[in-house]
Amino acid sequence: MKHLLQLIFIPLLLGAAAGAGAAGEPIVLNDDCPPGFELTAGHCELRSLYQMYPSLQDAGVGGLKTGLPQWRDGFTPQQTDLGRYLFFDPVLSRDGTVSCATCHAPDKGFSDGLGRSVGINGSVLPRSAPTLWNVAFLNSFFWDGRATSLEGQMLGPLFDKHEMGSDPQLLLETLNGLPAYRQLFAQAYPEDFVAADAQIRLDQVYAAIAAFQVTLISLNSRYDQYAHGYADALTEPEIEGLNIFRSFVARCAECHTPPLFTNQQIAVLGTPEPVGMPFDPGAEVPLNEPTQRGGFKVPTLRNIELTAPYMHSGRFATLREAVAFYTGGRGHAVPEGEELKIHWHIWEPNLTDEELDRLVDFLKTLTDESFKPEPPRQLPSGLGLVHFEVADAGDINNGEEDHE
């Protein structure tokens, strides 16, 4: 069945692309760096006020005026812009129905609004899509931390039969079969396209997508204004929330540590799965470490307001529910028969309803989409953007207007 689809799909696709090429102007990649980056000797380098601050052992964990952890940058503007086209183009999936943005939609906090993401052919996946905001600063990827680079991470969704369903050979054939992409890759990697018959390579694809991903910087929230010294950036209830957040009663900041609001560690929390779903062993599997059973990467809380539902499989619909989990008692949601090494910061802080409300108030000050990129108006494949389907559905549920 899949092969049949593929046979039908590729000729259709090539036809569409040829049509687009004939009708539209050739795409010229942007030669400016995205916001937040300075063009230096042809490369885009990150600039942030946080770079003024020290950070103990350069670990990028601390308090208000603490510097950032190691980050990725240094791609060219053209590579970055090529990555944007690839990111939004469903041509990267086996049947042209799923793009990276399907599960990482800009208007959904670079997630998808779903508890468990949906891949190719409507496959419901076991975990939720993590936000891509600030992935430039991360050193491990996936909920169970099994990838150590963006390039390594993207192999998962691209080639998983339930996610985008492609394979390396198909991906190369597809892209090399599209003249529009060949000329874009030639703009992004001119040194590799001197010969007329030069082919697109996989490492160029991965690097371009990574180049785009590292530009998704969110460090201009109202919280950040407060951190840089503007005391009036937060309201009194929000400051109360900040103080609960960093108190040693709630202990949120011990793992969700500023400035990124993650310490990038694996933690065993014992959060519940959605009803009917089996227990997820998490990091136990990639680490081959039984004591990490049920361990998941501490996610960033930046733009957390935008990425409901919460936890690795979306059990909690709202921030209020997610926050309340932590005052429910150590191990209160662990299924019978599971012996977990629950993290020591999970205890019984006995937070009041008011304190939980203030925590939610504070978490909403971490929202900043000022550097949100625009999706391309036209895709090199000639296909249409697909990520709005999910986004629109969410918007209708929320009773909001769509964003177009």
Binding site: D32, M52, H228, I239, A250
Partner: protein, 506 residues
């Protein structure tokens, strides 16, 4: 402590007679008279301290002051004073009772109690407030306060270099007494702390800290140095805790090393308190009757302490097997590498071991806890005069080639850590332009706001005009949305950003 069980079990299988014989009839004590003094102690932790020290100055720096003085009287709010304070201010708190949480998110603030004829300003959490003092600024001093009945920590720092926490009395505050974390260069001195569910004094993920001359008692842990480097623990009176002085790598933290810790000239006495730690916490694993406990921390020197009356073990070196209730951390080295045990006065330890220790001792036909145990059996350790103590697991220790650490007067720096300066691309104007302004303004193309080129043409030599407009903008152009005010950036940053904007050429 599983390893020693395994080691001992194997030994018993190989020949219990040999082992028992060895322990019953130790080698005759060799009397040594040194012909030459030993070499001086060297430490990687002391390198930057010594390099910067021209003249000898031990903990001589203070929080910089500007002359601004704010006096808080009984019935007033300390936090109101902090809000009003500028960096460099001294806030003097008069005796009285203050029922609040104070947070300091500014640099160079001195929060100082005024003590009148023994009366302290009291911060009372009444069992309902979380923490007494939170700080996240550099150069913060907190002193002369009496803090009681908070649920979390008495004094908690989240980052912030060059801190001084001294002369405070902390009674029954919940989880930790003094808790500086993620900072460099700090002094914790002359505090009196009791009744704490975790550590009375905790220093976590920090560099260059002295914990000196404190009195800590009736707590689960007296002093804990965790995932930190270059820490001096000296001259403290540590008694009636469950465990006296700890140096730990705790697994699962983002900074994964611990080392160059000197535990010197402390009184570690009668630490036999029942363990009342929070279930699940790491210190809940500490056997009652523990004097000094080193877990996975490297290059720890234990020197000239009086360690007496601790009912389980005087000094323990161990690995993560003590932290059996935590998930394993494959990125942290579990071994307490290169332990260094110099001369210590040890008396009356191990008289009534806790059940978990008793069970381990039983495997070796012992009932009394040793003065010193190494549960890992490290082979890179050293000890002076081992014949003076009842030891276990130290068979592979050599003799230390230094006799004291007096070359390290302090692990704090001679001068405060300066702000991060003079690195490339650190200009505030540039960082603000790219980090904030560029969200709406590109050089040559239209984004949300007009291109930088157009702004350059309008303002030419007038960066002040840009800065003033950005602080309080008005709607100017029909074809662009109104600019949101940027007053969150201070005047200097706005002006620097405006200058940078006018000089941009691409």
């Amino acid at each position: 402590m599983n390893k020693i069980v395994a080691i001992v079990g194997a030994l018993v299988l190989l020949g219990g007679g040999y082992y028992l014989g060895k322990s019953n009839q130790p080698e005759p004590t060799v009397i040594k008279v040194p012909t030459a003094p030993k070499a001086e102690f060297t430490s990687t932790g002391a390198a930057e301290v010594a390099a910067a020290a021209g003249a000898v100055s031990v903990r001589a720096w203070e929080t910089p002051t500007s002359g601004e003085l704010i006096v808080v009287k009984d019935g007033e709010s300390i936090q109101d004073a902090v809000k009003a304070a500028q960096p460099g201010a001294v806030i003097k708190v008069m005796p009285g009772t203050y029922r609040e949480t104070v947070y300091i998110d500014k640099d160079n603030i001195t929060l100082s109690g005024v003590i009148e004829r023994g009366n302290y300003p009291v911060m009372d959490g009444e069992g309902v407030r979380n923490d007494a003092v939170l700080y996240s600024g550099n150069g913060v001093t907190v002193e002369n306060l009496y803090i009681t009945k908070y649920k979390g920590n008495a004094i908690m720092g989240q980052a912030g270099n060059n801190y001084i926490i001294r002369n405070n009395i902390i009674v029954d505050t919940g989880v930790y007494g003094i808790f500086p974390q993620l900072g460099k260069n700090g002094i914790v001195a002359h505090n009196v702390i009791s009744g704490i569910e975790d550590a009375a004094i905790y220093v976590g993920m920090s560099d260059n800290v002295d914990v000196v001359y404190n009195q800590v008692f009736d707590s689960v842990a007296g002093i804990e140095i965790e995932n930190s480097r270059a820490a001096l623990v000296e001259g403290n009176f540590v008694y009636n805790n469950t465990g006296g002085i700890l140096a730990f790598i705790t697994p699962g933290l983002p900074i994964k090393t611990c080392g160059d810790v000197i535990i010197r000239n402390n009184f570690v006495v009668d630490n036999n308190h029942e363990n009342f730690a929070i279930p699940g916490s790491l210190v809940s694993n500490i056997p009652s009757g523990t004097g000094v406990l080193v877990m996975a921390c490297d290059d720890v020197v234990v020197e000239q302490n009086i360690i007496s009356g601790n009912d389980s073990v005087g000094i323990t070196f161990t690995d993560f097997s003590l932290a059996g209730n935590a998930a394993k951390d494959q990125d942290a080295d579990p071994n307490p590498n290169r332990p260094k045990i110099l001369n210590n006065i040890m008396q009356d330890n191990g008289n009534n071991p806790a059940p978990v220790v008793r069970a381990i001792l039983a495997t070796q036909m012992l009932t009394r806890g040793p003065d010193i145990v190494d549960t890992v059996g490290m082979d890179d350790g050293c000890i002076l005069n081992p014949e003076r103590y009842r030891t276990l697991g130290l068979d592979n220790y050599g003799e230390c080639d230094f006799a004291n650490t007096k070359s390290v007067l302090t692990y704090t720096l001679p001068e405060p850590v300066p702000p991060r300066l003079n690195e490339s691309n650190m200009e505030k104007g540039k960082l603000a332009y790219y980090g904030v302004c560029a969200g709406c303004h590109a050089y040559g193309s239209r984004m949300i706001g007009p291109p930088t080129q157009i702004i350059q043409a309008l303002y030419m030599d007038n960066p002040e005009g840009i800065a003033a407009y950005a602080a309080s903008p008005v709607k100017k152009r029909d074809d662009y949305p109104e600019m949101p005010p940027q007053g969150h950036l201070d005047d200097e940053t706005l002006l620097e950003a405006a200058k940078f904007m006018l000089e941009l050429t691409k």
